[in-house]
């Protein structure tokens, strides 16, 4: 198949799968998962075929689908699908991680009644995220951006009968829509300013000296803030954990939230220094805050959700520092190790009969050895253990901040890194060490191969090995240079370039060794502290036991409280006030009073003469009056 066909197949396969399983196999327990997993496999296979066929130095491909045009709005006349070096990297990561999470879901959802709906939802999500990756202009990005939000909404609401999931799904969608408000305005202004929203054409225009605008950049950034859950729109991500764990792994850790980062990298040339600075501060702050707040959660998934916030902050900060390639590298590495961590948590939750509270776990190391091993590898990777995947990307962002001479940002990121080691060590200690504290944990067993195989592939192989290709300057090519270590070579070009560039700068500044030592110190101190502090679990969070005030401060959700206050005390009241004004002024006074009253008076006058007391009279008086006015106006006009 040629590249055009492959692109169309990649985009449309999940849509077909979703439609077929939603309409015909809604109640089936076997067919819907089979369709969905097969679709994910087909997409992975097609993506690999596409990526291996591309030129590693300059991976581009494009195709079109029919669209529509109205008047001067011709931007969607053809729906263009295209892929470039950024898209190639994202495509491989998303399709690969997604396929293994689909496999995991088969095991995880085995006791769920609504498997058909769940897998159809996953396929809709795949369609949407692939649309974002393949979109060649801003309007198309927006279309799939919205669809991603919708599929996320549907999947969060999977357990619709809990009030918590109902609230969380609504919150996620609305927070995203608030971001999309700015995003859409930004797209429209961009279209007005440059006359195109095609990424390639915009890039050419900027290269040829067109101005960039802070306003457009900031507005487009709103989309990123919503989708990647950065301050002040981060509130939805922790609640989104109400969805099933595979959904949290796929959508709310590995791919959808990373799409915001991917998008910002794609439009990097449109961002002015002011936008970058704003982004740096918002994201570095979020990284530090998320890293610490993860310590204030006993729900294993919520703790991981804060970790995701923190790492999305890392990526955003990398973009803010002017290192888009490193941001993308961290996005890819994060997708592997964070998906693994979530899947480990899923495996644990499933084994403990849907218990999510870490204080009720413990001692699972021996009962679930494969899960524990995967957790250790992915955990070391997120903590940036040397030569693990996370080490290549996360430490590079720290170094980048130091190299840029931005000490406050550097400090924030170091705090975030320490936070990472603390919460990872804490999680490991509370879940896998010590004794079991709950009924579920006592009877836990290792999960089925459906669940452990993805853990092994994503966790052990990729969290450990994804960074390898960066080890040597030439990478580790095989298959005639089409593959580079574990990646298709065309997907690694963008990372390798940015990584080696920064590495050379570090080397010339003599910072390689100091940064390495700093990283190791953070790792040893953080992990050591956490494991020692939380090791002897007592069925209670150690921090909450020893310092309730500090724990409360970490646990309290300031922005949620603020939004709650705003909605209840401001928005709702204003709305009630407007509704009251509408009733009082427009409906009662203007309508019943003036329009109804005047003819009624006329009517009562008339009634004295006509004496028929017919209630319908006002209507006819109005008709008559309107005719008179109309006639007068017509005469006036003529």
């Amino acid at each position: 198949m040629d590249n055009e066909t492959l692109l169309r197949v990649i985009l449309l396969t999940p849509l077909v799968a979703a439609v077929v399983s939603a309409f015909f196999f809604r109640r089936s327990r076997v067919v819907a998962p089979a369709i969905s997993v097969t679709a994910a496999g087909v997409i992975l296979f097609a993506s690999l075929a596409l990526l291996l066929g591309l030129d590693p130095a300059n991976p581009t491909a494009s195709a079109t689908l029919p669209g529509f045009a109205l008047g001067g709005f011709t931007e969607l006349e053809t729906i263009g699908l295209s892929i470039d070096k950024n898209g190639a990297a994202m495509l491989f990561v998303v399709t690969f991680v997604a396929f293994w999470i689909h496999v995991f879901s088969v095991g995880y959802m085995d006791d769920d009644k609504a498997r058909g709906r769940f897998f159809a939802g996953l396929s809709v999500f795949m369609f949407s995220i692939l649309g974002i990756i393949l979109a060649n202009n801003l309007f198309m990005t927006f279309i799939f951006w919205e669809l991603v939000g919708f599929s996320s909404y549907m999947l969060i609401a999977h357990y619709y009968d809990t009030d918590y999931a109902a609230m969380a799904s609504k919150k996620a969608f609305i927070a995203n829509r608030v971001g999309d408000l700015g995003f859409l305005v930004g797209i429209i202004l961009c279209y007005k300013q440059y006359g195109t929203t095609n990424f390639a054409e915009l890039g050419e225009l900027i290269k040829s000296g067109e101005m960039t605008f802070t306003s457009i950049g900031l507005l487009l950034m709103c989309g990123f803030l919503g989708k990647s859950a950065q301050f002040p729109l981060h509130v939805w991500l922790t609640d989104a954990m109400a969805g099933p764990t595979p959904v949290s792994a796929l959508i709310h850790a590995a791919t959808m939230v990373a799409a915001g980062v991917f998008f910002m990298v794609r439009i990097f040339f449109l961002l002015t220094p002011e936008v970058l600075t704003t982004m740096l501060w918002l994201c570095a702050g979020m990284a530090a805050l998320g890293g610490l707040c993860a310590l204030g959660q006993t729900d294993i998934k919520k703790s991981l959700a804060y970790s995701t916030l923190s790492h999305l902050g890392f990526m955003g900060a990398a973009i803010g520092l002017g290192l888009p390639e490193i941001a993308l590298l961290h996005m890819a590495m994060h997708a592997f190790f964070k998906a693994t961590l979530f899947l480990c948590s899923g495996s644990v939750i499933h084994a403990c009969h849907h218990e999510q509270d870490m204080t009720k776990m413990g001692g699972l190391l021996k009962k679930m050895p494969i899960t524990a091993a995967a957790f250790v590898v992915a955990g070391l990777s997120i903590c940036a253990f040397p030569w693990f995947a996370g080490w290549y990307s996360k430490d590079m962002i720290l170094s980048g901040a130091y190299l840029a001479g931005n000490i406050p940002a550097f400090v924030a990121l170091v705090i975030a890194a320490i936070g990472t080691t603390l919460y990872t060590g804490r999680m490991f200690a509370m879940v896998f060490l010590g004794n079991a504290h709950g009924h579920g944990a006592e009877h836990a067993k290792e999960s089925s191969p459906w669940m452990t195989l993805p853990l092994v592939v994503l966790g052990v192989i990729f969290s450990l090995g994804a960074g390898w290709f960066l080890a040597g300057t030439q990478g580790l090519p095989w298959l005639d240079g089409k593959m580079n270590a574990l990646f298709p070579a065309s997907a690694t070009g963008v990372f390798a370039h940015g990584y080696h560039d920064l590495h050379e700068k570090l080397a010339s500044a003599g910072l390689v060794a100091p940064m390495f030592i700093l990283g190791v110190v953070i790792l040893v101190v953080g992990l050591g502290l956490a494991v020692v502090f939380y090791r002897t679990s007592t069925g209670e969070d150690k921090l909450r036991e020893h310092s309730p005030v500090l724990y409360k401060a970490l646990e309290y959700r300031y922005m949620d409280a603020f939004y709650g206050w705003y909605i209840e005390k401001v928005q709702q009241r204003v709305a009630m006030f407007v509704a009251m004004l509408d009733t009082a002024l427009i409906n009662m006074l203007a309508m019943r009073g003036v329009i109804g009253g005047v003819p009624a008076i006329l009517g009562s006058v008339a009634r004295r003469y006509i004496q028929n007391g017919n209630g319908g009279i006002p209507v006819f008086w109005i008709a008559f009056g309107a005719l008179v006015i109309a006639a007068a106006l017509v005469c006036g006009v003529l």
């Binding site: 008047g71 429209i188 006009v637």
Partner: protein
């Protein structure tokens, strides 16, 4: 008259004939009544789909396919007689009317415990016939009469089968809508007497489109005419602050009537505003664009806030339908704001199409929710998904369509409208307008969460009753599926309707667009070239259109070295005069026509402007001479 033209007439006539048959069928069994009504509902929909397929290849007169006329009905000598036809704009709306009609009809047929069943069907059928007539009649007065024809059944239905407070609601609605209809009728009369109905096809959309293409000059104050149309139609379309009738009416009316009125009939005013207002009175639109922007913003933000406070599901859907009129009005205003780009009008038509379907679907599903819970109060429900998953899926889909999710037709309309408003001033208004996507998401998802998520609250339904709730039946599923399918098909393949819309808009609205183009391009040069004298009306920079580089039409004028002007009034030789393009001025024309030396006043009428000149001042050289353009008409007094 071709076969397809006959089909179009048949489509309009079938529901009316069926209604007539039902009116004289008291002795028929219930099944037969249903069968007659069913035929009346289904046949037009099938014909509409056939016409959609036939449209691209059909023979067209100025863009109108399936043309037919009945000169018996009307007075051809006055330019008023019944004519039918469909162009790219009315075709999708006609299709929407037919689809919503079929769904509303099926809803009516499956309604249980109705008194006067035959009359119920008949009234719904009359309304259906009326709305089909609105979008297929092309002569303006028939278009208006069909609207009234559809409106009367609404009163009747509310009075006979309405819910709580039916009398007050019916009277309120009667007052409002009569007023709106009267004002818009005044506007139509004004347009008629201003000379819009003089052509071969009389006072019809077709005739006006041709006249506009030929450079028609209206003999009247376009701003006032447009205002009459805007506010008259505005009341009918529930433009803020004339919306008070709408929520109550929709909440009280029987569901099929709400579906037809909120979905289809309400689009009458918008359709008229596009086909008459924007087409024939672009300068009026330019005059009133700021009014439209601010009032439509009231629809979006204020009504949006009010929608958020609603606890009653049907009221909420009703308010949301008022809110969604805001973007459509803005789409029409965008024609002026963007300086003649028809994208906004196209978006408005697409959104009218989509909103009709989605609001009808919401009313339909709302009734299904009511049938199960016995209340419209959303705070008393909860967790219905467990018992009615298919109903929940449809409801979520309808909500998503109405809040503009890609994949549904509504999205394309909203996106196009928002994009076409890029030039709006001040720029922050764009943000306020796009705020609608957030507001609608808030109330839409709240409703979904309250009705379908969480657990049964136990207020409306006891736990026992909740256990007995059934998912939607086939007779409820069918209308929902029809509406859903129409939304999704156009959502995924928007070109199905946008191709026709685009072609018609580009062809018919080019002269109107040129007006704005001249206005915009002339902005810099205006000071030297234009003579602005006191006049009642839009004082427009009368820059020759060939200065305008951005619009292609202007170039044709450069080729015409000689121009023709018409002089009439107080002159010795009335008629057409040919002048060379370079030195064509008013004085020269008056000289050729041997104007009466005592004449004191002249008016230059052209498509883009109306320039009054005091001749005494002109002769004395107090004011500069007026450059003339091809097709100008000069009236001397």
């Amino acid at each position: 008259m071709s076969c397809a033209s006959t089909l179009l007439q048949v489509a309009v006539a079938t529901p009316l004939v069926a209604a007539l048959a039902l009116a004289f069928s008291k002795w028929l069994p219930c099944g037969a009544k249903k069968a007659i009504a069913g035929v009346g509902f289904v046949v037009p929909a099938l014909i509409a789909i056939a016409l959609l397929c036939a449209f691209p290849c059909a023979e067209k007169i100025s863009g109108y396919a399936f043309y037919s006329s009945c000169e018996m009905l009307g007075v051809p000598s006055l330019g008023i007689w019944l004519q039918f036809g469909l162009n790219g704009i009315s075709l999708p709306l006609f299709l929407m009317a037919a689809v919503v009609g079929v769904a509303a009809g099926l809803r009516a047929l499956s309604t249980k415990n109705v008194e006067l069943r035959g009359l119920y069907y008949a009234v719904t059928l009359v309304m259906f016939g009326g709305v089909l007539g609105v979008f297929s009649a092309i002569d303006v007065f028939s278009f208006y009469i069909f609207h009234e024809f559809a409106l009367i059944p609404t009163f009747v239905a509310i009075l006979l089968w309405g819910g709580y407070g039916r009398k007050t609601t019916a009277i309120t609605m009667a007052i409002y809508l009569t007023l709106g209809a009267m004002i818009s009728l005044a506007g139509l009369f004004a347009l008629y007497f201003a000379g819009a109905g003089a052509g071969e096809y009389g006072f019809s959309f077709l005739g006006i489109a041709q006249a506009v293409a030929n450079g028609m000059v209206l003999n009247g104050d376009v701003s006032v005419i447009f205002a009459l149309l805007l506010f008259g139609f505005g009341i009918l379309v529930s433009l803020f602050p004339f919306h008070s009738w709408a929520p109550d009416t929709y909440a009280v009316a029987p569901t099929p009537i709400s579906m037809l009125h909120a979905g289809v009939l309400k689009k009458f005013g918008l359709y008229g505003l596009i086909q008459l207002g924007a087409l024939a009175l672009p300068l009026g639109l330019a005059d009133w664009q700021n009014w439209i922007i601010w009032l439509a913003l009231g629809n979006i933000v204020l009504i949006g806030l009010i929608t958020m406070t609603q606890k009653d599901l049907k009221q909420m859907v009703a308010y949301s339908s008022v809110m969604h009129m805001g973007p459509i009005f803005l789409g029409i205003a965008a024609f002026a704001i963007s300086g003649g780009d028809v994208a906004g009008l196209g978006g408005a038509v697409v959104l009218m199409f989509a909103h009709g379907l989605s609001v009808a679907l919401l009313f339909h599903l709302g009734q299904s929710v009511y049938d199960r819970t016995g209340t419209y109060d959303m705070t008393k429900m909860g967790g219905l998904t467990a018992k009615a998953p298919v109903l929940a899926a449809f409801f979520v889909a309808a909500t998503m369509a109405s809040i503009g999710l890609p994949g549904f037709a509504n999205f394309w309309g909203e996106l196009t409208i928002f994009t076409s408003l890029a030039d709006i001033q001040p720029a922050w208004l764009l943000g306020a307008i796009v705020l609608s996507i957030v507001i609608s998401a808030i109330y839409g998802l709240r409703a979904v969460a309250k009705i379908f998520y969480g657990k049964n609250t136990g207020v409306a339904l006891s736990d026992e009753a909740f256990e007995n709730v059934r998912d939607i039946t086939v007779s409820e599923r069918l209308p929902a599926l029809i509406l859903f399918a129409a939304l999704v098909v156009v959502g995924f393949v928007p070109s199905l309707i946008t191709k026709n819309i685009d072609a018609t808009l580009k062809a018919d609205f080019a002269p109107a667009a040129k007006v704005f183009c001249a206005e915009n391009c002339g902005a810099e040069a205006a000071d030297e070239d234009v003579i602005i004298l006191d006049g009642p009306l839009p004082v427009l920079p009368a820059v020759p259109a060939d200065n305008c580089e951005s619009c292609g039409e202007g170039k044709e004028l450069i080729l015409a070295k000689n121009i023709t002007v018409t002089v009439s009034g107080a002159v010795e030789e009335e008629g057409d005069f040919v002048l060379s393009a370079e030195d064509a001025t008013l004085l020269k024309a008056l000289e050729l026509a041997k104007a009466d030396s005592e004449a004191t006043f002249a008016v230059v009428l052209r498509v883009t402007a109306r320039i009054p000149v005091d001749l005494d001042e002109l002769r004395n050289g107090d004011v500069e001479d007026v450059p003339l353009e091809d097709g100008d008409k000069i009236s001397v007094e």
